[in-house]
Every structure is written in structure tokens, then in C-alpha cells.
Amino acid sequence: MPYIPHGPDEVAQMQAAIGIADLDALFDEVPAQLGSHDLLLPLGLGEMALRREMEERAAANIPLRCFAGGGAYAHHIPAIVWEIAGRGELYTAYTPYQAEASQGTLQILYEYQSFLTRLTETEVANASLYDGASALAEACLMALRLRGEGKAILVPENLLPAWRQVLDSILGWQEIPLLGVPYDRQTGRMRLPEGDSDSAALIIPQINAFGGLEAVDTLTDWAHARRMLAIAVVNPLALAILKAPGAWGRQGADLVVGEGQALGIPLSAGGPFFGFLTCRKAHVRQMPGRLVARTVDAQEREGFCLTLQAREQHIRRGKATSNICTNQGLMVTAATVHMAALGGDGLRRAAVTCHAQARRLRDLLADVPGTRFPFPGPFFHEFVLRLPRSARAVRDALLERGILAGICLADWGMGEAGDLLVCVTELASDEDLLDYRDALLVTLKDLPA
């Protein structure tokens, strides 16, 4: 009986204490007609067989050198990060409702909040949301609470399309209008919206779906000039070198969200990741999600506890700022250890290396006949490569060579058939870059035009 400790003698004693003759009696309040069905599950496996099966199935996923990004990035994660996050005391604890018995988790969350506010140059960070895209939806709802329900949200069309789909779902159920902000077809960058819409907020993705960098100061000031909130969508690793959203424009972005995966979270085919959300202190009461504060006990010893719980569903129920309860705590723990392990210098070095290697690959690919880069302008570690063949065909051909060459924009319903979104991180060695170039050269030669 895996994981159930009871021996037969113990069961007998317990049944006697309850006054039942068998375990079925424990279900005597269940209407009789509900209890019978065949459970269509396979038989159980011993741990040994389970390990073997998991290893075989893991091995059935082909290992690839990763040049895909699009919101999920292959980075180096120091060995200590998951060694610590996997420690039973952190891995198997619940939400820290009993503060005194959860000082480990609580201090880590407080440190996480501190890291994130420093990174974004804002004042408050919550203790995580599910992922970047759902965090953006929450930020929009928060903006509407701050600026008046019924208003619209301005959503740039060069936001990652999966993120847009999440907004369509979550905001759609509340019938919140989403107004598109088009992008310049020559640069891939946002155009300033025309006219003065009565909107609650403008979303500003720094980095956009094509990997490009936006004119964030101008966009932020534009929004503020129209009494809109500026919602920044940022890559936290990129913030080691890019301007912090709290410093965008004259007043800084109001709400900052992003996908935290780049901070020590394995790709895991897309999750669990975590979303972050930071804001000014003035807006904290409209913020969704948990928040940890530093306080003291009766002896003035410093400690940490959850705070402003009245915003949350377990207190405020239908009037809460969000329905979120379980968040991505362990991911935040890993991210905190990751940020500490890299340190300021390491974080900056990782970001600089991403950029430098991406530039290097771009320079190498510039020499491949027939390719071009449709969107000039600055980028961080991701750029669009326009191929003289179908990007899907090229990508599939490079899979055979152990390379995940990027994301076909056509899969997103964007760009042209030849457009491939290529991402390079610090994991790619110079040799990897040359291999990519060479594989592409061979593939383009072999593929029919």
C-alpha cells in the first residue's frame, strides 16, 4: 500500500475506536447508488518500474539545442538553486498562514519582493501569480479597479499572441473591451495610438513579440498624458541591463508585470513558471495575490507574516481583488535563490552575454545567402530572421540536426511564412552558434525553394 502506513492491527484498533466493523462503514452517509463503478486505471507500479518508465518517457523527448524563446527561455540555473528549492522544508510546506511556523518561506518571499522591487524600481511586489500572461490579465483588472470599470485596455498587436489570447479569455468573460494598438510594419515596434480613447491603461511590452525594444519613455508619457495607467511587461533578466520600468518616462510605469521563468525556472515544456506584478504603494490595496510584510513579535523580534489579507478571496470572498489562492510559491523560492546565487554581477553578466551572443549569431546569419532581418532596431536576445524558404520546413530540418532553430511566426499567425523568431541565451557557446549557421546553410541548400 504505497504511502499508507497502516498495518492490519492498527486498522483493527482504529475501527474499534470508531465503532465500525469495516472501512466501508465510513461511507454510510453516501447514498447507496453513488458508490459503485469500475475505476478504469491501470494497476500500480513499484517505484523501480515507475522510475524506469519515467526515464524512458523523458528520453522519448528529443534533446535539442534551444534557440526558441517567445516568452520561455533556456538559461543556466546554478546547481544550488533546485538543491535548495527541493529541500523538504520548502518543497512540502503549505502557504505560510501560520507565520511563526513558516519564517523560512516568509523571509524568502520578503526577499523575493525586495529583489523584484529593486529590479523594477517600484515599491511593492506581490508574492507571485500563475505566469506572465495571467499576471498581465490581473494587472488589467487592477487598472480597471483603479481607473473605473467599463473602460478599455489598449493592447499592442506586437504583444506575444498567447498573452493576448489570455487577455481575450479572462477579460472577455467580464466583457472588458480590448483595443488593439498596431505596430509599424517596418520596425515591428508599437505606433502611438491615434485619437484619445477613454481607456484605463496602455500595455507596453519591453521586449515585444519580435524581440525588439520599444520607446518606453515616450509610450509611458503618452499614456500618462491621457490619464491612463502604463502597464509595463518586462523580461526580468533583461532588466539587469535595460531601464527599469519604474524609471520609464517622467513618472515611471504604474504597474509592472512579467514572466519570471528566466530567473531560475526550468523550461518544463511551459510550466510551472511564475508571473510577477509590482506597483506603487498607493495602489497596493487593489493588488491581487499574497503579500508578505516585515513586523515584530511581542519581544520586538523581527519576523515576517502575510499582510493585507483582506484583499484576498479567503477573507473578502466575492469582493476580493482576485480569486487567486495557490500561487507559484516554490518557483519564487527558486527564483530568489537564483537571484542571490547570480548576485548583481552575475545577473548583469548573464544578460550581457545573452545580448552579445544573440548579436554574434545575428552577425553570422547575415552572411547566409537569402536571409534578412525584417525588423531593424535594438533588441535584447531575440530577433526575427526572414528565410527564403518556409520557416516551418527549415525548423523541422534543423530538428533533425538537434537544433530547435526558433519559433515560426506563422505558427502565431504573424509575419511572413519565412519568418523565424530566433533567441540566443548565455547557454549557447560560440561553437553552438557556428553549428547553427552551418546547419542553416546546408538546410537552405537542400530545401527546394
Partner: protein
């Protein structure tokens, strides 16, 4: 001696920025977009990081170190083999945009998990994408909304929810655009059918229930409730938070529910990680199948798997997160089900119920008041210490804090709100009789302390790294980030 913050460890190294190499590397980015040197960040050594967080970890209670009978949270053992498997490079390094042919190992697992969850819930189909129970609830009620809208029933805007329900229920209903109507429970813990009847009408979208309910008892009228709600044109949502109580024994589908979520991080033993991540898969009957959130996994022919997304699922309520949900959690849940198998799954609820009922009986014998003494406990049960409060002002919170001193995590307190001074206690099936006996012994001692030395409880905890923390001060000061 409090543990310092990580920011205390800062060995200023030779400057990185401003260095020639860096300036050159960033030369192509306009200065206006760059950060400069405003990042205030520590530079600890690796040993400092390890030591800091290892010591912090020791300041936690957890399943791996303590009995954790937190009601409604199903704090059962989290098998380590599942963690090991999920962290294999073949899973952990998969980019979500990997084409399906290169991730057949994973897709096969997800497909099986969909099938197995359908089997244990008695439902027709499953989507694994919700990231947690609350997101599953949101997806579930959004499907109810989509169902009514598809039929032109745009007026069905009211969602019925028992007063005792988890707070996520009304919050989720509201996020999906519903208004909430609360339905009271009767004195025996079951739903007030008359109140239900009164609330039902042409504007009824549905009802959200968990069964066993949050009162720790099985809703005996569930078949009648289903008939009435269905009769009024509404749908039934099952909140899977308490599924551990009936796993492998009673299927929500058989009770008449149309849609539900499962908390994989409760019922299927994936870890709670100090707050998450969870996974809140949703399961539906046939008629809601078209609305399931995307993506899902399909099997084409023999053992070839692919993603189903917007193109395949035109009526889907859409996407809940940028990728396919908390895959790593799903892998752990799959491993747990694979390990237990049919027989093991059937045992879960039996032993969960055995532990809860045994504990209830013994605590009653020790003088504690059950909220529903005449009822069978489900996998959890409610005690009320209103008697202690009346007698000498001892509150449920004081009992909870004193338990910490004895190395036992506190049960859930003050939920459900309708039982005064309540403790919601859920031992789970993975705890031994010896652990339960020790809990009874400690509770007995605390009861005695409450009567004889109540200050010991009111000032508890005494033996933890910090004493009772000033939460009011925390909210007032709102020191939520160290600014350096």
C-alpha cells in the same frame, strides 16, 4: 538572533559595468533604453547563499518534518520519486514551442493523465491547463457561462454558492461575470433545500458545491440537489478541494456534477511548495466538452500525440496562461497515479476517512466539541472551542499557536466562518496511528493548559524562532520590501 536578509551579503567586486567589454557589448542599444548602474543587488558567495537559505528552510514546518493537519489542504506525503522524475532533463529542458514530434514522451503522459482524471471523476473529458484550483474554478464557471451563452441563455447570470464554500468559489464566479447568491446550510450541515428552491429560477446559471462539504460531512441530498438545479436549467460545479475524501469511491460525475476541477497538489500528492504551484485540471461531462480550455492533448492513431489548440477547439473558452499549464506538477500527479494504480487510488479515501473519524472520536472522548457530532466525518472534521472561549477566553487561534509549540502544525482556523472558534482538522491517509495518537495526547494537554494556565496559550508560541507576530503593525507599516 534573526537571520539577516540576503542583502547583507555583499562583497563589492571589481566593477562589472562600465567595463570595456560590457560597454562594447551593449553599444548597439540606445543609452535611453539602458539601465545604468541603478541595480542595488547583493553579491553573496555561493556558500553564503547555500547557508542562508538552508538555515531559512529549517525555520519552516513542512510535511517532511511535521504533522500538518491543515483542514481543506490535504497535506499528504509528496512522493520524492515524482520530483526526481519531473526534474529529468528530458522533461525539465523541453521548450514549450518544441514541435510535437520531438516531445512525444511528455505528450503521452499528459494524454494518459487526461484519461485517468476522467476515469476517477466519472467525466467525459479533461483539460489540464489550469494552474491552480482557483484557476480551474474560473475555467469551470467560464464554461458554464459559455454553455448558456451558446444556447442563447444570456440571462443566466446568478451563481448559487453555499455560505460555507471556499472563498475562491464566489471570487471565481465573479471573475467570470456572475453575481453570487449565497445558500445557507442546515443545522445538520447539509444544504438548506428550501433556500435552494427559493433561489432557483430562469436566471440561475448553476451551483458550486464541494462534496463532502467544507463542513467535513457528505452532502446526503446531492442527488436531489442535482435534479433540482438541472430542472431549473442550471449546471452543477464541483469544487475538487475535498476530492481526497471520496477518491476512487464516489465520482462527481455520478453525483450529477457537470464540471469540476481537481487540486492535483492536494488529492494527487504534488507538493504545495510553500504556496504553490498547484494544478487545477478541469473535467466536464460531454455537453461541456467543446468549451474546455486549450490546449489539450489528443492521441492520433497508435501512440502519436499532438496538441489541440484554438484551431481544433473553436468553442473553447480559450487560453488561461501563455503555455500549457503547470506541466511539472502534472508530471508529478501522473507519477503518483501510476504508482498507486487502481487499487492504491481506491485505498486513499478509505484511509483518509479512517484517520479523520478515528481522530474525531478520540478528540471527542478527550472533551472537544465536534461541530456535527451526529455526523460521520469525511476526510476532515470541525471542532469548536467556543466552550473554552466562554470559559476563559481561549480562542481557536490560541490553540493553534500552542500546537506549534508541540511541533504540530495548526489545523485551519476560523474556516468555515459559520462555526464559531472552529478548527478544521484533516489528517490525510499518509499519517500513522501513532502520529494521530500523539496529536490527541497533545490536544488533551493543551485543553488542560487552557483550563489551568490559559496565558500559556494566549502568548503561544513560545518555542519557535519568533513569538506571535504583530499582524496589525505589519499592515500599518507595510514594510513589504527592503529598499537597501
Amino acid at each position: 538572533n534573526p537571520t539577516p536578509l540576503i542583502f547583507a551579503y555583499d562583497h563589492q567586486q571589481d566593477p562589472v559595468h562600465g567595463s570595456m567589454g560590457e560597454a562594447e557589448a551593449l553599444a548597439d542599444i540606445p543609452q535611453a533604453l539602458l539601465r545604468g548602474d541603478t541595480l542595488h543587488w547583493p553579491n553573496p558567495s555561493e556558500l553564503e547563499v547555500v547557508r542562508h537559505y538552508t538555515r531559512l528552510s529549517q525555520r519552516n514546518f513542512s510535511i517532511d518534518t511535521h504533522f500538518y493537519p491543515l483542514g481543506s489542504c490535504t497535506m499528504k506525503y509528496n512522493p520524492r520519486i515524482a520530483h526526481e522524475g519531473a526534474m529529468l532533463a528530458g522533461f525539465a529542458r523541453l521548450h514549450p514551442q518544441t514541435p510535437a514530434p520531438a516531445m512525444q514522451g511528455l505528450l503521452g503522459i499528459l494524454w494518459e493523465l487526461q484519461e485517468w482524471l476522467a476515469a476517477v471523476t466519472g467525466m467525459a473529458a479533461v483539460s489540464l491547463t489550469p494552474a491552480a484550483g482557483a484557476q480551474g474554478e474560473l475555467a469551470g464557471v467560464a464554461m458554464i457561462r459559455a454553455y448558456h451563452h451558446t444556447r442563447g441563455d444570456h440571462q443566466r447570470k446568478r451563481m448559487l454558492i453555499p455560505t460555507a464554500a471556499h472563498g475562491t468559489n464566489p471570487a471565481s464566479a465573479r471573475m467570470a461575470g456572475f453575481t453570487v447568491v449565497e445558500i445557507p446550510n442546515g443545522p445538520d450541515g447539509d444544504l438548506d433545500l428550501a433556500a435552494l428552491d427559493a433561489a432557483l429560477g430562469p436566471d440561475t446559471a448553476g451551483i458550486m458545491l464541494t462534496n463532502p462539504s467544507t463542513l467535513g460531512v457528505f452532502e446526503r441530498q446531492i442527488v436531489q440537489i442535482a435534479e433540482r438545479v438541472h430542472g431549473a436549467g442550471g449546471l452543477l460545479y464541483y469544487d475538487g478541494a475535498n476530492l481526497n475524501a471520496i477518491l476512487g469511491r464516489v465520482r462527481p460525475g455520478d453525483m450529477g456534477f457537470d464540471v469540476m476541477h481537481l487540486n492535483l497538489h492536494k488529492t494527487l500528492a504534488t507538493p504545495h511548495g510553500g504556496g504553490g504551484p498547484g494544478a487545477g485540471a478541469v473535467a466536464v461531462r460531454e455537453r461541456l466538452l467543446p468549451f474546455l480550455p486549450q490546449p489539450r492533448v489528443a492521441r492520433d492513431g497508435q501512440d502519436r500525440y499532438r496538441w489541440l489548440d484554438a484551431g481544433d477547439l473553436p468553442a473553447s473558452i480559450g487560453r488561461l496562461s501563455a503555455h500549457a499549464g503547470n506541466i511539472g506538477v502534472l508530471l508529478r500527479a501522473h507519477a503518483y497515479l501510476r504508482r498507486l494504480g487502481r487499487e492504491g487510488v481506491e485505498r486513499v479515501s478509505r484511509y483518509a476517512a479512517l484517520n479523520a473519524n478515528y481522530l474525531l472520536k478520540r478528540l471527542q472522548a478527550a472533551g472537544f466539541q465536534a461541530a456535527f457530532p451526529e455526523r460521520r466525518a469525511s476526510h476532515e472534521f470541525i471542532l469548536s472551542v467556543a466552550d473554552l472561549q466562554r470559559e476563559n477566553g481561549i480562542r481557536a487561534l490560541d490553540v493553534a499557536k500552542r500546537l506549534l509549540d508541540y511541533g504540530i502544525h495548526a489545523p485551519t482556523v476560523y474556516f468555515p466562518q459559520l462555526v464559531p472558534e472552529c478548527l478544521l482538522i484533516e489528517p490525510t491517509e499518509t499519517e500513522s496511528k501513532a502520529t494521530l495518537d500523539r496529536f490527541v495526547e497533545v490536544m488533551q494537554r493543551i485543553r488542560q493548559e487552557a483550563l489551568e494556565t490559559p496565558r500559556l496559550l494566549r502568548e503561544a508560541p513560545h518555542h519557535l524562532p519568533v513569538g506571535r507576530l504583530d499582524e496589525a503593525l505589519a499592515a500599518r507599516r507595510l514594510d513589504v520590501a527592503d529598499r537597501g
